[in-house]
């Protein structure tokens, strides 16, 4: 495969926010008038990465980890405290307007639509702002309507739209000028499954058709699994993982859950599986509920067939269920500090 060109370069990017300490209560408010104790928050510290043209990158992290701050620096809204970032060769916060013409953004919690005007007005205004030609406008509107379906409510005032309608319209508005980069900051927040799916399909199709680079932050890991081949995980302002989903799964996703429904539970109850497989508690845990026995084990130490054959020796098996680790569980463990991050480095 030919390696495509790098579109976004981020080098040692950091952002600090300075605020002043607030003291509680009325007394505290008075105190706050006279003493100003600086509190420095390192929202983003020293992160570096490159993103190629046409990639869809999932950018994940817990609340307040620094995702949005990074996106805002890449879109030219915030000026970094140190480090550098270029998008399509431009430094976004130095050439804000130039950069703005090649990016599109959807911030799930805000809208870029004209609140008090019919939706169609927003599109015509954006057409002028981005200087989109009549033919391009017509073609893109057709395409976007096909994937997002906003024709039915295009003449409604924006403030009367439902959240799902508004988000679809917002995504269309971000794409009208066919941006090189699309930043999506929690684009599926609060949406129902049908709309979520529509949004995902749209993002996929746009990426395919226009080779648009997409950077997506989300708390919905289904978004990630369905759209992204690469993920970056940020925690406490530091980039702790940057790589493919498969890689993170092979690194962390070693835990497998095997549920076996047996005919007779008593021989199972009598057996100490940890001893049989000489496995420690961290590598194998067993949970028994009525006739169902559940093994949670490390795939590196034990194999599924090993366990099944042992159980079959003891009794007859009625049913088997196997569950591999979901990316969501991995991420949950990373957020709560359950994984040794250094292993990835």
């Amino acid at each position: 495969m030919v390696r495509s060109r790098t579109l976004i370069k981020v080098e040692n990017l950091s952002k600090e926010f300075v605020s002043y300490k607030k003291y509680p209560g009325f007394k505290g408010a008075i105190k706050g008038l006279f003493s100003r104790e600086k509190v420095i928050k390192h929202a983003v510290s020293n992160i570096s990465f490159n993103i190629d043209k046409g990639e869809i990158v999932g950018y994940i992290g817990s609340n307040g980890a620094g995702k949005s701050t990074t996106i805002k620096m890449m879109s030219g809204i915030l000026v970094p405290t140190s480090g550098k970032c270029t998008v399509n060769g431009n430094v976004p916060y130095e050439m804000r307007q130039l950069n703005a013409s090649v990016i599109g953004a959807v911030f799930g919690q805000r809208t870029q639509l004209w609140w008090d005007l019919p939706l169609s007005e927003t599109f015509t205004i954006l057409k002028e702002i981005y200087n989109v030609s009549d033919t391009d406008y017509k073609n893109r509107m057709e395409f976007l309507n096909e994937v997002l379906g906003f024709q039915e409510f295009i003449h409604n005032t924006v403030r009367t739209l439902s959240l799902g309608q508004r988000m679809r319209a917002d995504l269309a508005a971000a794409l009208l000028h066919n941006p090189e980069v699309l930043y999506l900051d929690e684009p599926t927040i609060g949406l129902d499954i049908v709309v979520k799916d529509k949004m995902r399909q749209a993002i996929k199709q746009i990426n395919k058709k226009y080779n648009t680079t997409v950077i997506l932050t989300t708390h919905d890991l289904e978004d990630i699994e369905e759209l992204c081949s690469r993920i970056m995980i940020i925690d406490n302002g530091k980039l702790i993982y940057d790589g493919s989903i498969d890689k993170i799964k092979s690194l962390y996703g070693t835990v497998c859950t095997l549920s076996i429904d047996v005919k007779d539970i008593s021989p199972i109850l009598k057996t100490d599986f940890n001893k049989v497989f000489s496995a420690t508690k961290t590598n194998l845990t067993i949970d028994i509920y009525e006739s169902m026995v559940t093994f949670e084990f490390n795939k590196d130490k034990l194999s599924i067939s090993q366990i099944i054959s042992k159980v079959m020796e003891l009794t007859d098996i009625r049913d088997i269920g196997i569950k591999e680790t979901q990316i969501a569980e991995i991420v949950k463990k990373i957020y709560s500090g359950g994984f040794d991050i250094e292993r990835v480095r």
Partner: protein
Amino acid sequence: MVMFKSHFLSHKLKIYKPFAIARIQEALSYKARFVLFIIARTFTVIITYYLWKAIYNSNGANTLAGFTKNEMALYIFMSFVTASIISVEVASWIGTDVVEGSIAINLIKPINYKTSLFFKALGDIVYNFFIPSIFIWIGILINQYVTLGELPPSITTHLLYFISLSFGFVLLFLFEYCFGMLAFYTSYIWGMRISKNAILAFLSGQIIPFTFFPNAIRVIFSYLPFASINYIPVMIYLNKVKGTELIKALTLQVVWIILLYILSRILWKKATKKLYILGG
């Protein structure tokens, strides 16, 4: 070159015109709010009128500080018309944008934030001009003719008034814009806005003509930028500023526009560095 320039301008106009039009449409969709606002303002001006009437009556004098009773009435109402036309709350728009974080949306568009605000303000002016200013103005003219037999001021006076009014608007816009930049530092400017409006009303001569003040204060006040917003246009309309005085007054307006423009650019540069988006 001229062709290029005019094309450039017409494109700019095409980009920013929607901001003005959207503002008018918004105003029309929140009619009740605007009507209430107008009623409140009209009450204030009527109270001010009766207050001055009482002052003149109790004093017994026909002329106070160079103003006859009728001139004073005209001053009050024209002051009101002027203030109503150019009243724009740019600082509070910026405040809301910063507090609600919607400034982020503005910054990801290839548009100039200040220009977009300027066009929004223009939209307000068009709206203000028709509702209610022009009607009050016509009322003033009719009243002058019917009760005093006075004809409206000459076309030249009107023209000069409009020029000065336009300068006043640009100045007020720039002042409001600079004031709005405070929102980037304090992130909440509502309280300050209230005091600003009170001070502005006083220093722009909207409440009391400067001629009532002691000489030294009068001179200082008339050189401050606030005089250019209201006092100068109204005095021009009343034909009280003439000849070299007039040229001086208009020049002063232009000088303040240039100075505030420079200040606004500096403040914007500084403010955007300070910016952090509230609410994620």
